[in-house]
Subunit: 220 residues, 2 copies
DNA sequence: ATAATTTTTTAGGTGAATCTAAATTTATAT
DNA sequence: ATATAAATTTAGATTCACCTAAAAAATTAT
């Protein structure tokens, strides 16, 4: 059994190692968790002794298969709750993260099973992230950062990397939602900003930073 | 701000003092919380310093107005979640308590407001207990223990004192639900058991213990 | 290749929430 | 009214999840 805090560390390790294939460093974790490195070292030892990560002094940590399963359980709960909040309780997509951070630790397999069917077994959450199934299977869709796509590319906004309220509110304001069709008109070389067309009708400029946080699935 | 554990103590104090008007004793609390008396003494001091209870050494504790408000907030959350679990997720009424014990500590006023309206502002939970409103107002209905009612009494089952799965399953089995009409046919003097008619058609015998845990509102 | 810098770990400490064992206060019984 | 019993509190420990300061290891820069 993992404590609430242990679950949060494990989730962070999962997300951080998901990106790069290399081990997750103590400092990266400390940063992510807003804790000091010494505290992270303590926790790493505990997680290692519980077999959810492998750890070699001074070499960072890697998540184990057992740890991956545990992390995916928490992520499944988080994403189902976010879906519930948006679909059933009419939260805006920028209001759900904090609450879901709490709800994801509720321990009741029956609850999650029932919530899942109440929601109609959704495949993705309101941010476009895939929801792992009961057995931790997660279907990653190949998606590219908008910033990496070529001029002329057509795609559908699939998910966002930055889930902060500020960013999500900005997206809402300029009319970008998950599922929106996006066409790249032109990329400015000097600053990486780009002009795009949303849903075949709205023309907007977005910064490089914004385009890096938009993940699209390319479409013909 | 109260910790999860402090909230649970406060809730217990509220429930225990609700019954008798006198102070809640250390041992009663220790019993209720499944902790040792020494631990309770520690916690009592902390709660007292936070102003949610008043405490005099060796004399037990009384909940303060501030404490009452805090307790009612938790109770409101608990009962709304129980309602959600039964009405929306199709839980049985005997499966909800443990999960609601976890959910009641989620801290998000917006969530509770939205949940409340999603449920249609229910007045009572699935066990017949009144749900306090946003401002902690709670309308207690005058109800009597079935065991205390006279032969010939007609009433509607309003709530149950014992919310344990075992008891609730027993009630389901013999056909008793919240809202069921109950008529007392006869009370056996020697053991306090009684014969009752449920919904004007089913005749059953129930023990004194069971009748003590059934609260009815008398009806003409 | 060694020195300087950065990263990580160790050592020791704190508050929350528990415990056991012992001391103290209150209640009860003769 | 005093002795015994019961309830309560105090004292001292433990585990979790954090901290700071200092030491050790790894990385980098000259």
């Amino acid at each position: 059994m993992l404590s609430l805090v242990e679950e949060n560390y494990l989730k962070a390790i999962y997300h951080l190692s998901d990106a790069g294939k290399s081990a997750v460093t103590t400092n990266a974790l400390a940063d992510n968790m807003n804790n000091k490195a010494a505290s992270v070292t303590d926790m790493i030892k505990r997680l290692s002794s519980k077999g959810v990560i492998s750890y070699e002094k001074y070499r960072g940590v890697n998540i184990s298969e057992k740890g991956r399963r545990a992390a995916l359980k928490v992520i499944r709960k988080h994403r189902l709750w976010e879906t519930f909040l948006v679909e059933k309780l009419n939260f805006n997509w920028d209001e759900v993260h904090e609450v879901a951070e709490q709800l994801e630790h509720i321990d009741s397999p029956l609850l999650i099973e029932k919530l899942d069917s109440f929601l109609g077994h959704p495949k993705v959450d309101p941010h476009g992230h895939p929801i792992p199934d009961k057995d931790g299977r997660i279907q990653e869709v190949k998606q590219v950062q908008l910033s990496e796509a070529k001029e002329g590319t057509n795609g559908v906004l699939h998910s966002v990397n930055d889930g902060s309220p500020k960013f999500l509110q900005y997206l809402s304001k300029i009319g970008i939602r998950i599922g929106a069709r996006i066409e790249i008109v032109e990329r400015m070389e000097f600053d990486g900003s780009m002009e795009i067309i949303i849903d075949d009708n709205e023309r907007v400029f977005i910064s490089r930073q914004a385009s890096e946080n938009l993940l699209i699935r390319e479409m013909p």
